[in-house]
Each structure stands twice: as C-alpha cells, then as structure tokens.
Amino acid sequence: MILAAPALDTVTIALAGNPNCGKTTLFNALTGLRQKVANYPGVTVERKTGRCRLADGRTAEIIDLPGTYSLIATSPDEQVAMEVLRGLRIDTALPQVVVAVVDASNLARNLYLTSHLLGLGRPVVVVLTMDDIAQGRGELIDPQMLSLRLGVPVVRYSGRTGEGLDGLRAVLAEAAIAPTPPLWSLAPAMAAEVDGLAAFVAGDAERRRNIALRLLTGDQASDLDGARQEAGEQLVLSRERLRGQGIEPMEAEIEARYVWIDSIVAACLTRGRPPTTSLSERVDAILVHKFWGLVLFAVIMGALFISLFVVADPIMGWIGDGFDWLGAAIGGTLAEGPLRSLITDGLIKGVGGVMVFVPQIALLFGFLALLEDSGYLARAAFLMDKLLASVGLHGRSFIPLLSSFACAIPGIMATRTIASPRERLATILVAPFMSCAARLPVYGLLIATFFVNWGPLGKAGILLSCYLLGIAAAAAVAFIATRLLGRHGQVTPFILEMPTYQVPQLGSFVRAVWFNTWAFLRRAGTIIVSITVLLWALAYYPQLPAERVEEVRAAALVAQPAAATEDERSLAVDQAESSARLAHSAAGVIGKTIEPVIAPLGFDWKMGVGLVGAFAAREVFVSTLGVVYGVGEVGDDDTSLQQAMVADRRSDGRPVWTTAVAISLLVWFVLAMQCMSTVAIVRRETGGWTWPIAQLVGMNVIAWIGSFAAYRIALLVWP
C-alpha cells in the first residue's frame, strides 16, 4: 500500500517502543529538548511533543510516547501510546510516520511490538538502539537483512555518540510507503475463525482480516466498538469454538507472532560467542540478593544522607555568610524605613534562608541521577516489591513513590504505569508522605539549629528518621486504605524489566543536577520571593503607633527585677518591643487566631504564620521565619535566623524553641499535606474532588496527632 507523501510542510512522527528502549533519548536528540531520561522503565507516562527539521527541510512534529509492549493496553500509560498510534485522541493528530524504537539487546521482545506497528497501515521506520550493548554480548545484528525481512527501513542510532541521527532524518523525510502487514501463520482453526468473523466486518479484505483478528484476541480499543457490534454474537461463538478446541485466541496469536519473530531473529542475528553470564547478571546476584541486596540498599541510602551534611554543610555556610554580607551592605546604604526592611528582612533573610539549601538539593538530585542512570533504581524497585506487597501496594508503586522524594507531582503522574485502579489510588494517596525536596530546607534548618552538637552522623540519622517516618506513615495508610478500598479487580503480578547496567554519562548527570537545582532556584526566585514579599507586608503592617511603642518599653522596664544588669534590661525591653510590633501586624493577628489549634503541638503564633505560609510552598516556612525574626529584630541586623530562634522567649521567659518543639515541627512537616499543587494534580488524576479532599483532611489530621504525640514524648526526654 502506498500512501501519498504528505503534501503539508509538517509531518507528524510518533516514537513508539518498549519501556526503557531509548525513545526519550532519541526524542531529545531529534528535538533538542531535555525531557527526563533515566535507566528504568516507565519514565515517560504522557505523550510529549517537540519539533525537528528533516533532511528535506520539512518540519516534523515528533511525539514521544510512553513505553508499551504491545498495542493491547493494560495500564493508563500504555493506553496513551495505543490511542495516539491508532488516532483515537482528539488532542493529538494521527501520526503519519511511526518510528519503532527497537532495543537491539532485546531484539525478539522488541520486535513483538514492531509486529503490531507494522499492522497500523502507516509508514514505519525501525531505529535500532543499544547496539553497543548487544555487540558487547557478542550479538551482531545485520540491519540490511532486518530491513529486508520487515519491509521497512532500519537505522542504527547510538544514544551515547549520537551516531545515526542524520541518517534517520534523511530516512524519515522519505518515509511514505506503508509496509505490507507481516504475514505470520495462524493455527488453521484460528485462521478459519478469523476468516469467518471477517465476513461480518465492513471494509477491504486486509482491514477486515486485521479487525477480525483484533476482535478475536480481545482487543478492547474504542476504534473497534463499531466492528464489535457488527460481529455481535458471531464473536462470542467464534471464541467459544476455539476454546472448545483448547485454543485461547490471544495466546495463539502471540505464539504465531513469535514464530514469525524467531525466524527474523534467526536470519538477522549472529552470535559471535556463546552467551555467557553477563556482568549485569553477576552484579545482580548481589544487588537483588534477599539479604545483601537490602544491606547494600541501606548503605547506599545512608551514604546519601551523610553526604548531605558532610559535603553540603561548608558550602551552605559560605552561602549564608554571603547573604549576611549582602544584607549588611545594602542595609548600610539605605536609610531606616520600609524599603530597607523589605530588602534586608524580607528578601535577604527570607529568600536567602531558602537559597542556603541549594547545595543539599544539588547533592540529593545528583545522587538520585547516578542511581537512575546506572540502572540501580530498577533493582531497588525489585527489592521493595515484597515490602510493598505486604502493605497492599504494587512493585510498580516503587518508582512513583521514589519520584515523590523529589516532588509528589511527577510521582503521582508516574502511577499511570500501575494497571490496577485500587493499587494506583492507594499509591496516589500515600505519595505525598514521601519527603519532597521542598521539605529539605525545613528539615535542614531545624536539624542544624536544634541538634547542633550531634555531628554529621547524628544529623544524618535524624534526617533519615524524617524520611523513614514518612515511609512508615505511607505504609500504614496504604495498609488501611487498600483494605478499605477492597480487593476489587485482579491482583496484577509485578513484571519489571531489569535494565542493563550502564556507566552514568557525565552529560546526563550534570544536566539532571543542573535542571533540578535550577528548578529550585527559579522557584526561590519567583514564587518564594513573591510570597515572601507579601508575607513581609503582613508582618510589617499595620505598624505599632509610636506612643504604644513607648508604653510597651516602659512597661517592660518596670517589669524587670531589681537585680537585672543593664544589658539584661536592654535585651528584655527590645524583645518586648519586637513582640508587640509583630503581634500588632496582620501576620500577628493571623498567627494569634490559629494559635489555639497549634498550641497543643508546642507551636507559638510565629510558627503558625510560617505554617500558613507553607501551604503556598513548604519552603516558605523557612523564609517566613526569616521575615518574622528579621522584622521583629530591634537594633543591629546581625543575628542569624538560627540565633534569633534560639534566643526567642515566651512572655513568661521560657524559650519558644526547644528540642521538643523542633521534633514536633519535623513530624508535622513529614506528615502534613500542605502542597496545593499536589491537591490539584490528585484531583486531575482521580477525576474528582473526593480523594484530594479526603487526602488533605486525612493527612493533616494524622500530622496533628503525630506532632502532638511526638511533642509529648519529646518533653519527657528533653523537659
């Protein structure tokens, strides 16, 4: 069949392939974009589009699809791929050319999807990736022979060197011929039923046969709805007749395709040496070992957390000093007034307080990038399957939950790879318990301030405990939720393809660290700055009238004991003034209003202001404290936020901040649902308001109870 070459200047090209075969690497190379790539399956869960120029000057719209093993979708992400390829989505044009990305190191399994793509009736170009891994195993593939047997162009492409990209651009420009659908021999009984059923379907002979086969094998795609009705009772009878002969139509079709595939592999693939145990397999013997695998996992995670303190601490100190210097320099040039307060207290103390955590963020993402690119994370998912299953989750929940350590939003979107709706919903509900990157500045500030003498190992231990508490809470909630949701639907087995180990590429590592650090900086420079500026205004206005200031100072002076020294009197009077100023401000009024709710957790109204701000973005808690203590400061602007927190006193002279309060706050931040973006994405992914609201209320109730319990227990240890 020959299709007319697209007359338009733009051609739509879809990249389809098995999970983790290198589609997104190819997409990035073709379009110059930087979509997330990692060495594990299921990274792309939504179609992505970009543009590239073909060799003949035309523009191509490239669609990167989630990985799929066939065109019979079993999970929401596979559904996206299938619908785009069959032209069933209103928001995406039907691809004019399909690029079948084939992992050369798993040729037979990848050709199974290719066999489906060849039946779509559109031009197909096969791109062979990971040829270097196949060659390393002694497997040599003959692209010419493969092209001859498949009847479509075959291009080699190396994701590492970029070799083959120009050739692919040229081939794509010429791709206008739809291949003849591959002819595999079905079992005679099956072939007879296909022919019989085809008589009830409209269209030309080739289409009728194709549709009859899809109907018979149980394809539920919506483009078959009409044909399904046309076939009606005949479809049921055909299936029954086959089953009566012991033939399961779907299995018979898969078997027939594989006979065809095996013949192609035999013709195209030469084994230079007999297959031996690969390095990946030898390494896996240890890394996915029942006992040693878990020990190594704990060691790797421990190393990550310790490095967050040992490596990042000095750099964070320098950044903090830099902001202090900047504050002093700008403060020195401006006269006393609202602008000076906004810049030094609002922007520099507030936003600077968040920026200090850039090194920890960079390290966290750098470490994760190394684990991702090496292929280790897929092994970690395998290790966790049993643990996840014991709380009612699925092995496939691991990657979404792991992504949630960066941000719950991509994590919740990654649940689209989970086929069972019940397991998917449970994973969505618990994903925000994973400590996201936005919580790190809060943890960092509290740990650095109140566990100052604990050393890197102790600090790492507390940070690790925060992460573990989130995981434990997620496990407990998942355990209860999956039981409440009932065991509807079949339990889906966990089949995860183990990607081959690869040496992480420097470029991809640097990109991952840069992308995430830049995202954090951009967030700090836009949203956090804006919210902090508004919070500063709330903490600065309305101002306490001058006569009230004098009254407060006089009252504080009178209240001082006769034995107090001059310095002590001066400090107490200054503190009374700053407290009165803040209490009079709008932020003070808000904080005082919510204080009764949070007082049982050990929090005062200043923390309350921070907690309200944290609902816009969690990091705002740190910047709010910077603002609150900056605005409240009387006299020299030279105390750091940490010093100001430690020095703060309640009206009865007791410190506001104690170790018990810090622990209570840490528990609150681990367990509370404060991110409005997450609420929005849960609404979208669950298709209603019920679950996001239940999650918001439920998590915050759990957080309140958890913080209350933690505070009371901590008071016993640190009275």
Binding site: T49, G50, P410, M413, R523
Partner: protein, 43 residues
C-alpha cells in the same frame, strides 16, 4: 508618602500581580505549575 514607601508599594503590586497571573495561567493550561512537572507539554 516617602520614596521608600512608594518603592515598597510597587514591589508588593509586582509580587501580587505575578502570583495572580501565574495562578490564572495555571488554571487555564491545566498544568500543575510545578517545575518538575511532566504534565506540561514540552513545547
């Protein structure tokens, strides 16, 4: 009104305007707005 107060009012308006426009744009595009977000089309 002093120069400092005028400058502060301008900065506050810019910050509030930025947040408002961002929220409206997010609502229209249906994207979550998170920098990590794969929900938004690349280009």
């Amino acid at each position: 009104m002093t120069g400092q107060t005028i400058a502060v009012v301008v900065i506050l308006l810019v910050a509030a305007g930025y947040l408002a426009i961002r929220t409206l744009r997010k609502r229209r595009k249906g994207a979550c707005g998170c920098e990590h977000c794969p929900a938004q089309d690349s280009k």
